[in-house]
Every structure is written in C-alpha cells, then in structure tokens.
C-alpha cells in the first residue's frame, strides 16, 4: 500500500456550499481525517493556491458558467479519482429547473439589465463534460456516506454506494409507510437511499432530494398519486424538484406538465 497520504481537493461550482460544508461538519472526524489524507485544496477552509495533482477530487456544484466548463476539465486532468458531491454536480441541482425555460426568461425575471449576466443556458452535471468515477447523491450529501467512501478508498477498495429504493431502509427502521397509512405522496419507492430516511421518520413524505433509485418505476408511482387525488401539476412538481434532470424524473414530469 502507498505510504504517501492521498492528496484530496475540494472544488466548488454552482452550488449552495452545503455539500462541501459536509466535510467541515465531520466535527468528530475532521482532524483525524486531515492526518490520514492531505487536504491540499479546499477554498472554503484553506487559503492555499491550486496546484499539482489530486488522488481524489471532490466536486460540488453544477456547471453553469463558461469558465466552469474549462474548470471542470482542468480538475479532471489533475485528478485520479473524481467524485461528485450532491444533486448539483450529479444532475444539475435545483437551479437546473431553468433548463425547462427559454434561456433569456430567468435573467429577465431577476435582473433589470439581464444582458450583463454570464451564465450558460443550462445548469449541467459534471458528467456532461468529463468522466466521473463516483457520484454521491443528495441535496445535500450524507456525511456518513462521504466518510464511508473515503474510508473504503483508504482501505484500497473500490467504493460503492447503495442505490436501492428508500423504502428498504425505511422499513429497516420500522417506519410505517406514510403513503399507504396516510395517503401522502411519498417519493420513497423511486428515490435512492442515502439520506437515512429523514422525511418519513419526521412524518412527512419523501420529496426525493437524493434522486432516482436504480431502475425506478415512476409511471407506476405517479399513477398511484393521481389515483389518490393529486393533480397533474402537483405530481409534476414532485418530479421536477431537486433531481429534475435525472432522465426518469424529467420525462415523467414532462408527461404531467403536458396533461
């Protein structure tokens, strides 16, 4: 095994900073982690120039400006293993709702002089530009999942992240199904696990801030929502939320947008 400490960089694109904050939220682990790895670039926490190559790049945020297109390519070239953090980097994030609108609409709404705004027409995931080795899902990512992946890498194994439906972990926690017992529109059956089953454990339906599970079946679930009395625009908003650009959610949501 290598004796050199792995060099880690944390890189930000269009985002709320929440996923990289997750690193600093590892209050019990942060200093030990800094002993095991060399956190060589992390602008939110370290005043140090960007230089050299990285064993692991942690990339937060979506690609949303012309400079960011160049930046993501640069980061990829510098990095052996590139992990995206969160919904923005994986699927464009909440700001990718703009992707459904004409390019000039949003700047006009927000700015008096929209012609000065420099952003791409669409908020895109890193994987639209470069190969991504692993995507940690979530808005924001789960701290335990991040640590688990880093430990797996330190042990020399290929990190894997479970992507089954949230329901499995919901029932492992003995939570009563909020969809069946309360008729609430829970996205759990088509949402990937990872959050720790937060919403159902707080008596609210999952709103899919972790995105689609592996091989989801959204049309069956949304038929059920419609049967329970939810209107097409309500169903559409559920699908077009934090993972609106995941193909399964995007297409199913557009079906309801049209109806």
């Amino acid at each position: 095994m290598t004796t050199r400490k792995p060099r880690i960089g944390v890189f930000k694109f269009a985002s709320c900073d929440g996923c990289q904050l997750t690193v600093l939220d590892c209050e019990d682990e942060l200093l030990d982690l800094a002993e095991r790895v060399d956190i060589a670039y992390f602008l939110e926490a370290i005043r140090r120039p960007l230089e050299g190559e990285f064993d692991i790049a942690l990339v937060e945020g979506s690609v949303y400006t012309p400079e960011q297109e160049e930046y993501i390519r640069d980061i990829r070239q510098r990095s052996r293993f590139l992990i995206t953090l969160g919904a923005c980097a994986a699927q464009g994030g909440i700001q990718a709702l703009r992707n459904f609108t004409p390019p000039d609409e949003y700047p006009r709404v927000v700015y008096a002089l929209p012609q000065y705004i420099e952003s791409l027409a669409k908020s895109r995931p890193a994987s639209d530009y470069v190969p991504v080795d692993l995507a940690l899902q979530g808005c924001p990512i789960n701290k335990q999942q991040l640590l688990r992946v880093l430990v797996q890498m330190l042990l020399g194994s290929k990190p894997r992240v479970p992507n089954h439906a949230l329901c499995l972990d919901c029932k492992r926690q003995n939570i009563v199904c909020v969809l069946v017992a309360q008729g609430k529109p829970c996205m759990g059956p088509i949402t990937t696990t990872g959050c720790g089953v937060l919403c159902p454990s707080y008596d609210r339906p999952c709103y899919s801030c972790f995105g689609p599970a592996y091989q989801p079946n959204p049309s069956s679930l949304t038929r059920r929502f419609a049967h329970l009395g939810f209107a097409p625009h309500e169903i559409q908003r559920l699908l077009h939320g934090y993972y609106s650009q995941a193909p399964e959610f995007r297409e199913e949501g557009q079906r309801y947008a049209r109806s």
Binding site: L155, G156, S157, K158, R160
Partner: protein, 291 residues
C-alpha cells in the same frame, strides 16, 4: 381438542458458534497465474485448526479482507496434497481488488469450507469429461489432480478448456504433467495472437471434436454461465443423460451457509445445495434467463 405446545423439533442448543465469524489465515505464497489472476496459498493461523481443516474438490471458502468484506472463492488445491489451501482469484471485485495488494505473510480471514463437491465416487469406472472456461478451471483443478492421482480407477480423462486469449489460460505450467499422467487435453481460445498456434473458438465447440460413450461418461463443467449453457445443450444433444452432467454454478454467496438467501436458484441455495449440481436437478431453473 387439546392445544399443546408443538414444535417441529427441539431447539438446537444455545451458544453455537456464530456462522459468520472468520478466522485469521496467513498468506503463505502468491503465484501470479495470468494477468489479473493469482493463486493465494493460505493457512489458518491457528495450527491445530489448520491440521483439522478438511475439504472436498469443488467446495469454496469465504475470504475476508479487514474493513472491506468477504468474497466466496472456490478452493483450487487438492485435499491432502499440500499444507495450505489454494484460491485462484481474479482481481475484479470490491474485495479482490484489495487482495491484489497483499503480500505473503499478510493475514486475511477465512471461513469454510462450504458447499458440495464434485461426485468423484460416482465417476469411478467412467470416462470423465471435464469442460472448463476461463477461471472455471480453478474448482476443477483439484478434480484433475485427484483423478490423475488415482488414474487407474477411471477410464478416459478428457479436459476441454478455453479462455478468451492465450495469456488467460490458467495453470499452463501444469498441462504437460497432466498429459503425461494420462489426461487428454484440448485447449482453445476465443481470440488468438501471434504466439498461438492452437485451436481458436469457443469451448463448447470443442465437444464436436471429441467422441464419447454417453452410457459410460460423466461430465463436469464450470465457467461463464453462457458457456455452461451451451456445453450442457451440446452434451444433452449427444445423448448424455442429465444426471451424468454436473455443473458448478456461480452466485453471489454472502453468508455461505444457506441463511442469507442471496444465492438462490429456484429451490436451491447455491452455497449449501451447490455449487456443484447435477443437471437433472437444476436444469429447469437455469433455462429462464435472469432467474
């Protein structure tokens, strides 16, 4: 009607050993076989446990890497031939990738042996036809060695073996010895290179080149599932009856002891009812895809 406390059987005694518990095992040697494949010779750290360790050709062990997890690996050495237990491993999975970095003297975990072995007794007095593909030769190597050690008890011994390319052929250094001891060996590769002047083609195709007497032959096969399928169909077409065809199935064993349910194939738990099955038991369940 008198209600009574009725149980199927008395409960087994409490305090039995935990079936999931690995034992430390030391790597005695690592032999690189082909690119990305090596044979690990292991010995249980506890010497008396190692002395008591018994297995049959065809069985497997769960190997364990600290902090990473376990992986089922078939035993590729021959019982009684040597001190350690051999496992031929391809470095592809979560656990095996880490194994690639281990060195002799390192310790990993082992529990087993698990599963059923090849029916060597049933093969006595018969022609034995072994058909293997790729890494599928590993669990058959102890069969070959055992049969050769008792050569006189069997009639013809045939091995049909193939791999993707010449450099992927396992145990090449042993072929000459096997042939010398009376094994008929046919080797093929899917894709040849300049170094290769042997046969090219898939393994089941080799079958058409050999003749055998279906009433006196028993066949053992192991390899990729597609290869097994075509081999079996060919053997059946050549009138070998299903109970004379044995195959070793690969599934994702996790507990190894028939509890976790992951390796189910129809009514069977591959880990405890297999991995070696007679085709007449398993045939209807390997035909539907993805079952």
């Amino acid at each position: 009607m008198t209600p009574q406390e009725v149980r199927l059987q008395p409960f087994p005694p409490a305090g039995l050993p935990d079936p999931y518990c690995p034992e430390p095992a030391v790597i005695r040697s690592i032999e690189t076989e082909t690119p990305g494949v090596a044979t690990f010779r292991l010995e249980l750290q506890n010497a008396s446990r190692q002395r008591m360790y018994r297995y049959q050709p065809g069985q497997f062990n769960m190997l364990f890497i600290f902090g990473v997890g376990e992986v089922p690996i078939s035993i590729s050495s021959t019982p009684g031939e040597q001190a350690g237990i051999d496992h031929t491993v391809r470095f592809v999975g979560t656990v095996t990738r880490v194994m690639e970095r281990l060195r002799p003297g390192d310790v990993l975990g082992l529990r087993g042996p698990y599963g059923t072995g090849w029916p060597l007794e049933q093969a006595r007095g018969q022609d034995v036809l072994i058909v293997a593909g790729g890494l599928g030769l590993a669990p058959l190597r102890p069969v070959i060695q055992t049969l050769l050690a008792r050569r006189s008890q069997y009639r013809r011994l045939l091995l049909l073996y193939g791999s993707r390319q010449p450099m992927d052929l396992l145990y090449q250094r042993e072929y000459a010895g096997w042939v010398q001891q009376g094994l008929e060996l046919m080797v093929t590769v899917d894709r040849a290179d300049q170094s290769w002047n042997g046969r090219v083609g898939v393994v089941p195709a080799l079958l058409s080149r050999v003749s055998f007497d279906p009433t006196q032959t028993i066949a053992f096969t192991c390899g990729p599932e597609v290869m097994i399928r075509f081999t079996v169909y060919e053997l059946l077409a050549r009138r070998l009856s299903p109970e004379r065809i044995y195959l070793s199935i690969e599934r994702n064993m996790q507990c190894g002891v028939g509890l976790c349910g992951r390796c189910q194939l129809g009514p069977y738990f591959v880990c405890k009812d297999g991995p070696v099955f007679a085709f007449n038991r398993i045939g209807r369940f390997i035909r539907p895809e993805h079952f």
